[in-house]
């Protein structure tokens, strides 16, 4: 069966190593924080100026001066630090953040990502996404394999306006774990439980690289 959002978040959580500084995008990436293994200690960066995002507050703790990039009220963990937006993106562009996890509308087989605009339909802006994808060494995309209208989101080339070129390393969808091969193409690493290679092939429009034996994810 295809994974739900929580399943995707749980699988991404397995990619995370202790000691990392991590920027989580809005949506599924934000959920990843809830499923980190007990023995893993990381620091979550919020682009609006915080290292050390804690859990959502109790009602009595809510502070309008303390929000995350999705404008949700949050708390700070012990050892947090606060800073301004120029400093925040300095640490992002400067390569100090170990892992960036973000959502996407489309990913190409060369690692291009599109996630900020649908011409004529949706104009929300790129926020911090272009800075993040232009700089991070380690970018994981969390998304559904296929759009609501039934089209593959893993393409030969992105059809929507690009957010960044050749930047995505790994993609974790409701159907599969894939990495961008250096020669181009989506290398299939794992299948969601009960999902066949054929189903993943059908749902992938770009070039899919399949080794002999593709294991199932362990969630």
């Amino acid at each position: 069966m295809a994974l739900d959002k929580i399943g995707i978040a749980k699988r991404i959580a397995q990619e995370i190593q202790t000691g990392w500084y991590i920027n989580l995008g809005i949506g599924i990436p934000t959920l990843v924080a809830n499923y980190l293994p007990q023995n893993i200690e990381v620091v979550l960066q919020s682009e609006n100026g915080l290292l050390g995002i804690g859990p959502f507050p109790l009602e009595k703790e809510v502070d309008p001066d303390l929000i995350n990039a999705g404008k949700q009220t949050i708390t700070m963990l012990q050892g947090s630090s606060l800073f301004d937006s120029a400093e925040s993106f300095g640490m992002i562009r400067g390569g100090h953040v170990d892992l960036t996890i973000l959502g996407a509308m489309e990913v190409s087989e060369t690692g291009d990502i599109a996630n900020w605009k649908i011409p004529g339909k949706m104009v929300k802006g790129m926020g911090g996404a272009m800075d993040l994808v232009a700089s991070a060494d380690n970018i994981i995309v969390a998304m559904q394999h296929v759009s609501r209208s039934g089209n593959s989101k893993l393409l030969k080339q992105c059809s929507l306006p690009i957010t960044g070129l050749n930047c995505v390393k790994k993609i974790i969808t409701d159907l599969a774990v894939l990495e961008i091969a250096s020669e181009g193409g989506f290398r299939l690493l794992e299948r969601a439980p009960g999902i066949s290679v054929e189903e993943i092939e059908q749902a992938t429009s770009g070039k899919l690289i399949i080794a002999n034996d593709i294991p199932e994810m362990i969630i």
Binding site: P64, I74, V123, G125, G128, M130, L165
Partner: protein, 230 residues
């Protein structure tokens, strides 16, 4: 000691004229200059260019100035929370320049720090790069981005003193410190205004040199966009 205190928001924004370029601090509705925005609604000044990370929501923040059609151009990074904004943009009533958030922050910082332009990787190969110089440095491509400055910067801080020194709280700091440096006239509204010498110099985030006018704001609503609890 220099005294930069003005009586209230109305006095602070009195000489903001039509066609001015303004910077407004804040991320979402967090750390926005609520009192100054209300005062601009009263003066009715028009054809403003507003530089701000976001455009408020339909009925709060910069959204209020959009509703009254006082804004002719926005320079922002993310505007997804405002339907009236999207309507004006799609109908062509409002000019909009969308920039990567880090590029926006750095262009403002550069404006205040005397750096006319800089190279950044953000936006290479995207429509943000259209018409901009691309240079390869150490094997990677970068875009040339220029500084941003404003006629007036409208800043919100937590505490301030009569000399204009400012301290911010939580994530309400965001764009406020760099905008304070990039305005010809920087107006700071604070929740608590204290005499010069009261704040610990070790704790000042924005030195008073950048602030021309300061006042203690009133009736802060501090609206929350996404009230979330566990």
């Amino acid at each position: 000691m220099i005294n930069k205190v003005v009586e209230n928001a109305g006095a602070a924004v009195r000489d903001i004229k039509d066609y001015s370029t303004l910077m407004l601090g804040g991320f979402g509705l967090c750390g926005i200059p609520e009192n100054c925005i209300t005062a601009l609604l009263s003066t009715g000044v028009k054809n403003l260019t507003c530089i701000s990370n976001n455009a408020g929501v339909d009925d709060f923040g910069i959204g209020l100035l959009l509703k009254t059609r006082q804004v002719v151009k926005m320079i922002s990074s993310y505007v997804g929370e405002n339907r009236e904004f999207e309507r004006q943009l799609l109908s062509g009533e409002l000019q909009v320049e969308l920039l990567p958030q880090g590029t926006l922050a750095e262009r403002i910082r550069a404006g205040g720090a005397g750096i006319p332009a800089f190279f950044t990787p953000a936006g290479v190969g995207t429509e943000v790069g259209n018409g901009k110089e691309v240079r390869t440095i150490d094997g990677k491509e970068y875009l040339l981005e220029s500084w941003l400055k404003a006629d007036f910067s409208l800043i919100k801080a937590w505490k301030g003193d009569t000399a204009g020194n400012l301290i911010f709280k939580g994530t309400a700091r965001n764009f406020n410190p760099m905008m304070a440096t990039a305005g010809k006239v920087t107006i700071a509204e604070v929740e608590e205004l204290v005499p010069s010498g009261t704040l610990d110099p070790n704790h000042i985030h924005t030195p008073g040199i950048y602030v021309q006018r300061i006042f203690q704001g009133t009736n802060y609503e501090k609206r929350i966009e996404q009230y979330t609890t566990r």
